[in-house]
């Protein structure tokens, strides 16, 4: 039976168990449901869970492990002259076998052994599916029967069902941990492989970045240098320009909106700022590359400046626009958290509104604002689409905002789109860059969240 049909069958059987269980519960007490421990539907769920859950868990485990086990059996049965050719060759053969079983075209004309192996794979798969169908149906009927049999008025069906639901809720909450773990593992393992090829200090402190590794000895322009300093400086340069735009504009907008603006102005301006936050980054990237960059270049020519068409300035400027709403909404929260009594105190001493803001509210809100800015910096460092579309690919070590620079995220994208080979330093370098990016943004986030929380506790 097909896996998906089997799954649907199991679900249907399990729902049938629900109705049978509920029916049986009411029947056992001749309709006097007040003498049951739980509501009849809980007995239904009890039967459904018992009959469905084991089979579904088995099905899931089977689907995950089956291909690997069958592949191993098939490899073990391959003739000596194929297996002796080394791991990478066996992988190619296995790929061919998989393609053959799926009915796809193979890279090379398959040999008789491979066709035989593919046939074996198919027959093993058929046997395995047959086995799975039988076992899971047995499980459904077996457990279903036992659970329906177990139903009697004193059975604490509700407690059992609720416990199962609670475990499910807990497992869902744990997915957050799993995805952090997944991120750490995926970037860490590939990075370790990378650092085995390229020493870590060459990577972190090297001054040239040119990830083309030579395929031949005498190839030109493929030095394979993995010094990431130019990428870090490029990222910092663009983020710095972005913050120079976002922090003053965002902060002043927040101050104006929360302290000066009438309700009407706030009602219009705030949603408009949120619109700025909701625009996809690819749109900003398009805007940066096709509107802002030519504009800057034109302005540069008329001023006698030579601005690169993929200048850091254009990317940074547009990234700054993107981050304005983040800075302004975070500062807005912080400013509103400053107690009214502090404002009243300052007004009572005769301070003007702007003096109150600059000398009382701003210092009081400063830790929170700094926390917000740190979050914005981490957002800028990790921003991808704007820089991929508007910043360059050349890893220039420069602090001139009119030059083209490249960033960590741009390099990750260029290294990982297109054909990949997972044992070349070039591909693995992307994961090492990802690791650096992850660690830095994580640190910034942890610090920022802690600062903001401390600050809130101070006034609550």
């Amino acid at each position: 039976m097909q896996i998906d049909i089997l799954f649907i069958t199991l679900m249907l059987l399990s729902s049938a168990a629900f109705f049978i269980g509920r029916q049986r519960a009411s029947k056992i007490v001749q309709g006097q449901i007040q003498s049951l421990h739980s509501l009849p539907s809980f007995y239904g769920f009890f039967a459904a869970i018992w009959s469905g859950l084991p089979a579904i868990l088995l099905l899931a485990a089977w689907v995950v492990f089956e291909p690997a086990i069958i592949t191993n059996i098939v490899i073990a049965n391959l003739p000596e002259h194929i297996t002796s050719l080394g791991q990478s060759h066996v992988n190619l053969v296995v790929n061919d076998i998989h393609n053959l079983t799926l009915g796809n075209l193979t890279a090379t004309e398959p040999s008789a052994e491979i066709i035989a192996a593919a046939d074996q794979y198919k027959s093993l798969q058929a046997t395995s599916h047959m086995l799975l169908t039988i076992i899971s149906l047995l499980l459904v009927f077996g457990f279903g029967l036992v659970s329906v049999r177990k139903i009697h008025p004193q059975l604490r069906a509700r407690n059992v069902v609720e416990q199962v639901i609670k475990v499910f809720l807990f497992l869902c909450a744990c997915i957050a941990i799993l995805s952090t773990l997944g991120i750490v593992m995926s970037v860490l393992f590939e990075s370790i492989r990378f650092f085995k090829m390229i020493p870590i200090d060459d990577f972190l402190f090297g001054l040239t970045w040119s990830p083309q590794t030579a395929m031949r000895e005498d190839q030109v322009g493929s030095s394979g240098a993995f010094g990431a300093i130019p990428l870090f400086t490029g990222t910092l340069l663009i983020s710095f320009i972005a913050m120079m735009v976002a922090v003053p504009v965002g902060l002043m907008s927040a101050i104006y909106l929360s302290e000066y603006a009438s309700t009407k102005v706030r009602g219009i301006a705030k949603p408009l700022l949120e619109v700025l936050a909701g625009i996809p980054t690819v749109v900003y990237g398009f805007f940066a590359a096709l509107t802002v960059a030519p504009l800057l270049r034109g302005a540069g020519i008329s001023l006698g400046l030579d601005i690169a068409s993929e200048s850091a300035l254009a990317a940074g400027l547009v990234m700054g626009i993107m981050i304005i709403p983040l800075v302004s909404s975070l500062s807005d929260d912080v400013i509103n958290a400053v107690p009214q009594a502090m404002r009243d105190g300052a007004y009572g001493l005769g301070a003007t509104k702007s003096e109150t803001i600059r000398k009382v509210i701003f210092p009081a809100a400063l830790p929170g604002i700094v926390g917000g800015i740190l979050l914005a910096v981490s957002r800028a460092l990790g921003e991808t689409m704007i820089v991929v579309m508007a910043a360059g690919l050349a890893a220039n070590l420069t602090a001139n905002p009119l030059d083209a620079v490249t960033t960590v995220t741009v390099q990750i994208v260029t290294l990982l789109t297109g054909d990949q080979e997972f044992d070349s330093a070039k591909t693995l370098a992307a994961f090492a860059l990802g690791l650096v990016l992850f660690v830095i943004t994580l640190l910034l986030n942890v610090i920022a969240l802690r600062v903001v929380r401390k600050y809130r506790e101070q006034y609550e």
Binding site: K166, A176, I183, L257, T281, T352, M385, T441
Partner: protein, 428 residues
Amino acid sequence: MNNQQADTAPRRAIDVINAGMDRRKRSEKRFQLLGKLSIALAIGFLAMLLGSIVSKGYSAFQQTYVKLDVHLDAAKIDAENLNKGNYSGVIKESLRNMFPDVSGRREKIKLYSLVSQSAAYQLQAKVIEEPGLIGQTISIWVPADDEVDVFFKGHINRDIAEEDRRIKDNQIRWIDHFIEQNRIEKRFNTTFFNAGDSRNPESAGIWGAVVGSFYTLMVTLLLSFPVGVASAIYLEEFAPKNKFIDFIEVNINNLAAVPSIIFGLLGLAIFINFFGLPRSASFVGGLVLTLMTLPTIIISSRAALKSVPPSIKQAALGVGASPMQAIFYHVLPLAMPGILTGTILGMAQALGESAPLLMIGMVAFIVDIPAGIFDPSTVLPVQIFLWADSPERAFLERTSGAIMVLLGFLVLMNMVAVILRKQFERRW
């Protein structure tokens, strides 16, 4: 007398204050002006962004068509084998008939390039539908080539030097001839809305990307909504206070701020390399976006659950409901509008996301409309990214057009969220 006193007495505090008053009031004005300026700047940026997109993109919704009189020569199109007919030859012949003075290979190529390559397919489809047309001469409107399209829409100035534009003088002469005979006109660009990607701008459309986005978002929604709400319920209502739960919460808060491209690395290393899921599939895209939007959904669902007053739950407990029943039958329904609002906003965020999808191969050039979640597909933002890289002038307007469609979807989703909030929001 008072004046005398003022002259001799030491300056009073009020005088000092009054003396500085003008300066202070000026600085107050300056500060306010700075605030107004910042807001104006931010809104100005928004207006500039939208303005530049709309001004570039509105013309993408129209496509230039040319009317040709084609003679469906039975010698070129075999009535027995309609799929193999020489349709492009028929079209070329009709162009030659229209301009008999055109001679020479290069000029002929220029002439043929006035109409789109897709014209032949369109003719073929028409003939297959009505085989009786063979042997007759029919008038048919076919899409013009993208350069002609751009020129006809007025984006190319005919005064610039011939070598600086892709459309040449003789082509302009022919187009003028079309205009005189009313053989060229702009129509609503249906291709843009119902075709997949193409290398030819005039036959490229966003439908493939829209369908890909739809599948990806469906996978994301079906996974992230139940899991997100379940986690929020657990953390808000059942979680004991201990180190492990604190750890989960720290994780959720941090994941919300992890750069999206890192999720792409996770998808590539775990889903594709480790689990061997297919590249470019919207299923994998949905998985990656699920992990990315989960924190958003969890955080907003928790806020919604928290905003339901505890008295509701206590009342349910008081009449004998179990904690689970109190939450699922009373707290959760009341929190639902807030949870749905948060989910829609999370989905809007996922719809606009492209960086992680580049990592898992959804950036491939895909012509076919995906038919399922395991088919290779792309999504709307990635399609925009791909088109933005294309050098053709006609792709520029199509990129902007696709952005307008994407923004339209986002506005729609946000509006639903706002309405939901307005309609069902309760103040306790």
